[in-house]
């Protein structure tokens, strides 16, 4: 197990390294000089000089590459032209928001998705399964930003059950400094998280249903029944424990979806996260922010996959405990 873990970790680091390298070359392949905007009046002369030294803009390509690597590892992702601050700082402010959104969405996704998937597997072929299955298919096929718009319209505008966007009430709670403001934050979080979570749940339910159906067919489920166990125990203990394994890999796959969706959902709900930062940056031709965000999200995706793999290895005794038989 330990050797496997080390190898897996090394592989993850290698992937991140490759992503950073590719990003570097892509930046250099683009027209214009890296880290310098077309109109350099956005940057003060000192900043220009600092950037030149930090990123070696006057040196050879290999040297620039090494400097780039060093900077990335140190957390220096360049300077944002439009915001006039280091990219890393801007990202650092935005990441927690994206993070909470993604986490909330993930919770909704798996809570709803797993429950629905199990229900559908148990009632396979019957009305409940067919109706909810098609419903899930429809939700899974919706553009996530469109769902957000519709939810915003219905719950934010027509029913006034939820706020129409933003992180918090700017007048009453400019900062998160009281339980009441915490509640306000949660209230603002609901719709965007629900949007992402619902689409994710639809997908999770499909997988979980398939996994459960596959497991229910297995012989050991019949053995459990033959032992005189309650049907509920047979399904929720014996079957589910096996059906959850493929879902763990789904957890790893959820990360790219969440980050992609976050870009769109944050735009619709004016949620100040990384996605919205990146989109705004594009329109201001502020590409260091965009590349910084791209690098960061890639690293998080790799981390998410690593965590999922480790969880899987821990959860499945066939991997965790090595077999004695040949």
């Amino acid at each position: 197990m330990a050797t496997w873990l080390v190898r897996r970790l090394a592989a993850s680091i290698a992937i991140v390294f490759a992503v950073v390298t590719i990003t570097f070359f892509v930046i250099h392949a683009a027209p214009g000089s890296p880290f310098l905007p077309a109109e350099s009046q956005h940057l003060t002369p000192e900043t220009l000089r600092r950037l030149s030294t930090e990123f070696g803009l006057d040196r050879s390509l290999p040297e620039q590459y090494l400097l780039f690597l060093r900077n990335v590892v140190r957390g220096n992702l360049g300077q944002s032209f439009a915001l006039r601050r280091p990219v890393a700082d801007a990202l650092a402010d935005a990441i927690p928001n994206t993070f909470t959104l993604a986490l909330a969405a993930l919770l909704i996704d798996f809570a709803l998705g797993l429950a629905l998937g199990i229900y559908q597997a148990v009632r396979a072929g019957r009305v409940g399964d067919v109706v909810s299955g098609n419903g899930a298919l429809l939700v899974n096929s919706m553009p996530v930003f469109w769902l957000g718009l519709v939810l915003l319209l219905v719950f934010g505008q027509w029913l006034r059950w939820a706020p129409v966007g933003g992180l918090s009430n700017p007048v009453l709670c400019p900062r998160l400094d009281s339980p009441a403001c915490g509640l306000d934050f949660l209230w603002h979080l609901t719709l965007p998280a629900l949007t992402l979570g619902l689409v994710g749940a639809a997908s999770t339910a499909r997988y979980q249903r398939a996994a459960m159906l596959e497991v229910i067919r297995q012989d050991f489920v019949r053995t459990a029944r033959a032992k005189g166990l309650r049907e509920r125990r047979v399904l929720l203990v014996h079957a589910l424990r096996n059906a959850l394994l493929p879902v763990i890999t789904l957890f790893g796959l959820a990360f790219p979806f969440l980050f992609t969706g976050a870009v769109l959902v944050e735009t619709v709900f004016a949620w100040p996260g990384m996605g919205r930062l990146a989109v705004n940056a594009i329109f201001q031709r502020d590409y260091p922010v965009v590349t910084g965000a791209a690098l960061l999200t890639s690293a998080m995706v790799v981390l998410g996959n690593l965590i999922a793999d480790v969880l899987y290895a821990v959860a499945d005794p066939r991997i965790r405990v090595r077999s004695e038989t040949a």
Binding site: A226, K227, G228, P317
Partner: protein, 341 residues
């Protein structure tokens, strides 16, 4: 006459097929008894309904597409198993009647330890504490002959060989000291040497625990070695029923004859031994379309018009009433027992 432990009367289990090719009448009117402490063998080819019969006893048939017809009757210790409510049925499963299956590889849950799975039955049925259940599990592992049971109890199924897994299955089945063990092809998936060990184990445990065994198999050799009485099934029905020695010495049904004849014999004269193996011509018919009249007639060397027209009932073949029964018109017309050219 001792009271039978299990009485099966006219059991019918049908399956609805998907694309409307009709109903598969997998078990079509099966009747037999199991006496306390005896080993009853049910033997037949694939497709004859023996496994479905065994699953029907504990009502483990998946309800769509299968269903047990209302006229069927299965009585165990004086209660009709088919009319029990789910809670009472669960109290019997794994407790008074236990079952082991053919594939030890896939019949154990891969994510739980062997000990947990054995202990589970004890906890659920006898309400013992986890610690007590764990020591019972270790005891059972020792009983079924697994070395180092205190270590093995925490192992996972994938860490064990096929033979050991089957022993674990047996341990799991017997932890609550059932009165009846249903063994559905327990050795088919195992190596020949392991087969013998497992059968010996079941024999020994049966004697020690005083339980009855319903042994389902397609292998006549196993039946000869382990069963006291034998039921031969074909096309969803019982075609012959007799004590083992009688069946092997004096098979009356043409199908049984054919089965016995097709077994290669070490003591056959050299001429016969060099000849071709005898087999029963034709194939087992599909359960959706059993033949008219006697279901075996298309493959029977003796069949005549009556066989094609009328389905024979189970007829008594002499001796003490109820010991030897055969489903064949030859009993009424023994002169016909000459094979067609």
């Amino acid at each position: 006459m001792t009271e039978p432990l299990l009485r099966v009367r006219d059991l019918k289990t049908y399956f609805v097929t998907e694309h409307g090719s009709g109903t598969a009448r997998a078990v079509d009117g099966v009747t037999f008894d199991v006496l306390p402490g005896e080993t009853l063998g049910i033997v037949g080819e694939s497709g004859c309904g023996k496994t479905v019969t065994s699953l029907s006893i504990l009502r483990l048939i998946p309800e769509p597409p299968g269903h047990i017809l209302p006229g069927s009757f299965i009585e165990f210790e004086g209660r009709n198993l088919l009319t029990l409510d789910p809670r009472e049925l669960r109290a019997i499963r794994g407790n008074r009647i236990a079952m082991i299956f053919q594939e030890p590889m896939t019949s154990l849950n891969p994510v739980f330890t062997v000990g947990d799975q054995i202990a589970e039955a004890a906890i659920v049925h006898h309400q013992v504490s986890r610690r007590a259940a764990r020591s019972r599990a270790i005891e059972m592992l020792r009983l079924v002959g697994i070395p180092d049971p205190d270590e093995r109890v925490d192992h996972y199924p994938h860490q064990m060989s096929g033979g050991m897994r089957q022993r674990v299955m047996i341990a799991m089945a017997l932890v609550c000291r059932p009165q009846l063990l249903i063994a559905d092809e327990p050795t088919t998936a195992l190596d020949v040497t392991i087969q013998a060990q497992i059968l010996e184990l079941i024999d020994r445990l049966q004697a020690e625990l005083g339980m009855a065994v319903l042994l389902i198999t397609h292998d006549l050799g196993i039946v000869a070695g382990s069963a006291d009485r034998v039921v031969v099934m074909y096309a969803g029905q019982v075609v012959e029923q007799a004590p083992t020695t009688t069946l092997f010495a004096r098979p009356l049904h043409p199908y049984t004859e054919g089965l016995l004849a097709s077994v290669p014999r070490l003591d056959a004269p050299p001429a016969r031994a060099r000849g071709r193996l005898r087999s029963i011509p034709g194939q087992v018919p599909a359960a959706t379309a059993w033949p008219e009249g006697c279901r075996f007639h298309p493959r029977c060397p003796y069949a005549w018009d009556r066989c094609r027209a009328e389905e024979p009932p189970l007829l008594d073949a002499g001796g003490e009433p109820g010991t030897h029964a055969v489903r064949c018109w030859l009993l009424t017309d023994p002169r016909r027992r000459t094979p067609h050219p």
